[in-house]
Symmetry: C2
């Protein structure tokens, strides 16, 4: 079974390379590998070995990685709670039809479940569509909530850069009819707080607005039906050069070259309030109703960001598009900037770590009567943040504890298992984090070594003499200091010695 | 699309009823319903309405439910950490072959993903098999870890009783070669601590051993190849009467009636140390090597449980079987007992809330060289616990807060949005949990009402006069007391007034 899975995966690689019109040499290499694998499988039938791996694009989290993950989650959850958010959860899969028509070109990345009788299901692609479904289903018109959960995309993973097929999203959204741009500004404040708090280095939040994009497409002469597809092309500008994007627009999407060039002039623009003012004066854009509305709101947004003291990290960028179909207003994306660079060199984005925007129409797509609930939200992309912190921890060689055990219950002599079990049980019942080695007669040295290895600060040693005297010998692992403590005050003593300053 | 999904679901119900040989009247009723649905679908084509629902057997968690869930998780995680466990996580799906051959008759309940090219995948059915895969893959021979995550079973949901197709498991496992029954006893101690801590009412932990079961089957005359399948039948004794189980053994599984009757005599036995002693003297069982080993370990287990002070809640029960294929030694299951009962009436189990056992062979099934890593663990079944606590909360009409907001920043006059935003931003930056209404000019009454509704204890009111005086008016919602606080000491004042005693 295992080689078959490997062959299938290799076949998929070949298919993808062909589809992407990759370098023919590379394709040939991968085809050769595929044929060889097939030949081996044929010649070795019946002797199938097990493949010990997680599915492509996924990974396990070790205790060490979990310690980092918990730290990041705590920072994010603290921030969401600081802003008064409630929390919800939804199932990992949805009815297939719930996801249909929400993600534009990205829909092909949705994982479907096998038809085993019953409903047709798909794994969630993000947390936004399930949130909208939840609002419509429960007729909620007003909520501020966060949701932290895994989402699934059949993408080509680049795991070293923190891109997975199964990955966490940490979403914060505000639903309800409110005065313009106040919740939108709070979302950006949240991104700013979280990225500052996690100390990931310098970052930049790019903002744009779907209405400005649509207005721009209109005045550049893009035909209405091509808006979404041209928008998808613009979305690639963070990974591809303008020339490539332009050729995709003209060659694949059959946009006239003049329109593409006019788009090119706009999408090169980025700045702050002064750019907004300039575009509000732009003879073409200012005549477009949508663009004018978007620019007006963008101006208001920057005013609020200034009040929040974060306008300096936010840049209005006309090339920001975000591919998802459901956005209707402001959109944003936070990128970390390259750490080391030469003086005068432009800061280079090393990847998006947060993104979001306004989606006023999504809930209405689920409501039987089409009732709209305006929403705006942000999603923190945790995996890249993990990757960065993991690499940093490894480089620092800092030792990280993966348990919180306060004390190991040990004995120096043999035949004291019962006494150790009795004492550790007393400590557990008193709420002390305690362990005992699962050996009848462990050596004291091994017990001390276990404490060294796992960072346990205290050892409670029972022996014949201590039992007779009604005491326990408490040893501080770091200093090797030993002190006899009355059994009745042991819990208090351990608490005192392990309380965080 | 929506009606189609409903029809498919109905068709599945019919298929299941037929398979289960249900009451013909009931089948006829469901078939009639199916035909009617199909007819409607045919006559109404093209006018498909959207079904607003979560998939069958799943549910959303509202903020209130999440508050309960967090409380339960915290109790469980505290206990796991108290026992020195690390934490890991694994992907929601595994290679299909990873799950193959691990679950016996339950394998039909596994959710497969659709073949979309690439590997064949299935949703995890429990956390134990992924744990064993993790150990083998990373060559770990020694770990104590917990894992809290959702698992998936295409079962017939009974959601009112807390049975879902997507549900949480909270697993604690100890892997490694240790002296007998010490880790096993700790697992039971953990179940005892968690169920006591959650105050779910009286409970009982049933224990048995696969070796005792196998020995019993052997001495009763069950042929070797029928062991697993007869074990599955015994496993149903918590839901079915002995007569039914017996007839399944004899009629469906072709066991000779005499063997079934001999099994019947054993599986009626339950007790403590005295029953173990009695069976150690049993002329037939005591001659069986496996049974003897199992009984010897069971005796040791009860000795350790006595040291832990929990033997009173544990009962050796020969009818406990647990269907999963991978258990090799001690097995256990915790049930909550009915609350109200007449004096002298037997306590009645209202459902299993925890279960587990020893599985010494599972890791070896994944290791290329078959190296064994002995394991024992326990899984807390959270959903039934949620159901109970949810019902209890509803009955009590206790109000539960779903946010932690300490203060609402408000204003009594118009045109103070900027001042509110500036103040709330200051509070966020100081780590205060604060909110502001997203209105330009909200009425003070609405702002106070919002605090009442969501339980926010304080309001920080800014007005022209306060701004001039450099103060903020702090109002205590519960008492309506108001006090002017200098802006520079506002953070300290809020902290002091909202710190938990």
């Amino acid at each position: 079974m295992a080689e078959e899975a490997a062959v299938r995966e290799q076949a998929e690689t070949v298919r993808r390379l062909k589809q992407e019109k990759a370098d023919p040499d590379e394709i040939a290499k991968e085809v050769a590998k595929l044929l060889e694998m097939k030949a081996q499988l044929g010649g070795d039938e019946g002797k199938h070995k097990f493949v010990l791996k997680t599915p492509k694009g996924t990974r396990d989290y070790s205790p060490k990685q979990m310690a980092i993950r918990e730290k990041v989650f705590n920072a994010i959850i603290s921030c969401f709670k600081r802003h008064g958010a409630e929390v919800i959860d939804t199932p990992v899969f949805e009815l297939k039809e719930t996801l249909t028509g929400k993600y534009g070109e990205d829909s092909k990345l949705i994982y479907d479940l096998k038809d085993q009788g019953g409903e047709l299901l798909s794994l969630r692609y993000d947390l936004t569509v399930p949130f909208a479904r939840y609002l419509a289903m429960n007729k909620i018109t007003n909520i501020k909530r966060y949701h932290i959960a895994k989402v699934y995309r059949r993408d080509n993973p680049a795991m070293t850069r923190g891109r997975y097929r199964e990955f966490y999203q940490c979403d914060f959204d505000i639903a309800g009819q409110f005065d313009p741009m106040i919740p939108d500004a709070e979302c950006l404040k949240i991104v700013h707080e979280i990225l500052s708090d996690l100390q990931l280095g310098d970052f930049l939040i790019k903002v744009n607005d779907r209405r400005i994009l649509d207005g721009m497409f209109a005045v550049c002469g893009v035909p209405d039906p091509k808006f979404r597809s041209i928008c998808s092309s613009v979305d690639k500008l963070d990974k591809m050069a303008w020339e490539e994007v332009r050729s995709e627009m003209v060659a694949e999407k059959e946009l006239c070259p003049e329109a593409a060039d006019r788009i090119g002039d706009y999408v090169r623009l980025q700045g702050g309030l002064e750019l907004i003012e300039q575009l509000l004066q732009d003879p073409k854009l200012s005549q477009n109703k949508q663009a004018k509305e978007g620019l007006g709101d963008m101006k208001l947004l920057f005013e609020y960001l200034t009040l929040f003291g974060i306008a300096g990290k936010v840049r209005f960028d006309l090339s920001l598009a975000r591919g998802l179909d459901y956005y209707t207003g402001v959109i944003y994306e936070a990128v970390l900037l390259q750490q080391e660079r030469q003086p005068g060199e432009e800061p280079l984005g090393v990847g998006s770590v947060a993104g979001g925007g306004r989606y006023d129409g999504l809930v209405g797509m689920f409501d039987p009567k089409g009732r709209r609930v305006p929403c705006v939200g942000v999603s923190i992309g945790i995996e890249r943040i993990f990757s960065i912190l993991e690499q940093r921890l490894e480089a620092s060689e800092e030792k990280i504890r993966t348990t919180e055990t306060q004390v190991l219950v040990a004995s120096a002599q043999k035949k004291l298992l019962e006494e150790r079990l009795k004492l550790v049980s007393e400590l557990w019942d008193a709420g002390i984090k305690a362990e005992v080695l699962y050996k009848k007669n462990p050596k004291l040295l091994n017990q001390l070594q276990y404490c060294e290895d796992s960072g346990i600060p205290l050892v409670a040693i029972v022996g014949e003499q201590e039992l007779k005297d009604g005491v326990v010998k408490l040893r501080v692992v770091a200093t090797r200091e030993e002190v006899n403590v009355g059994r009745e005050s042991l819990v208090e003593e351990i608490r005192m010695r392990t309380s965080q300053p």
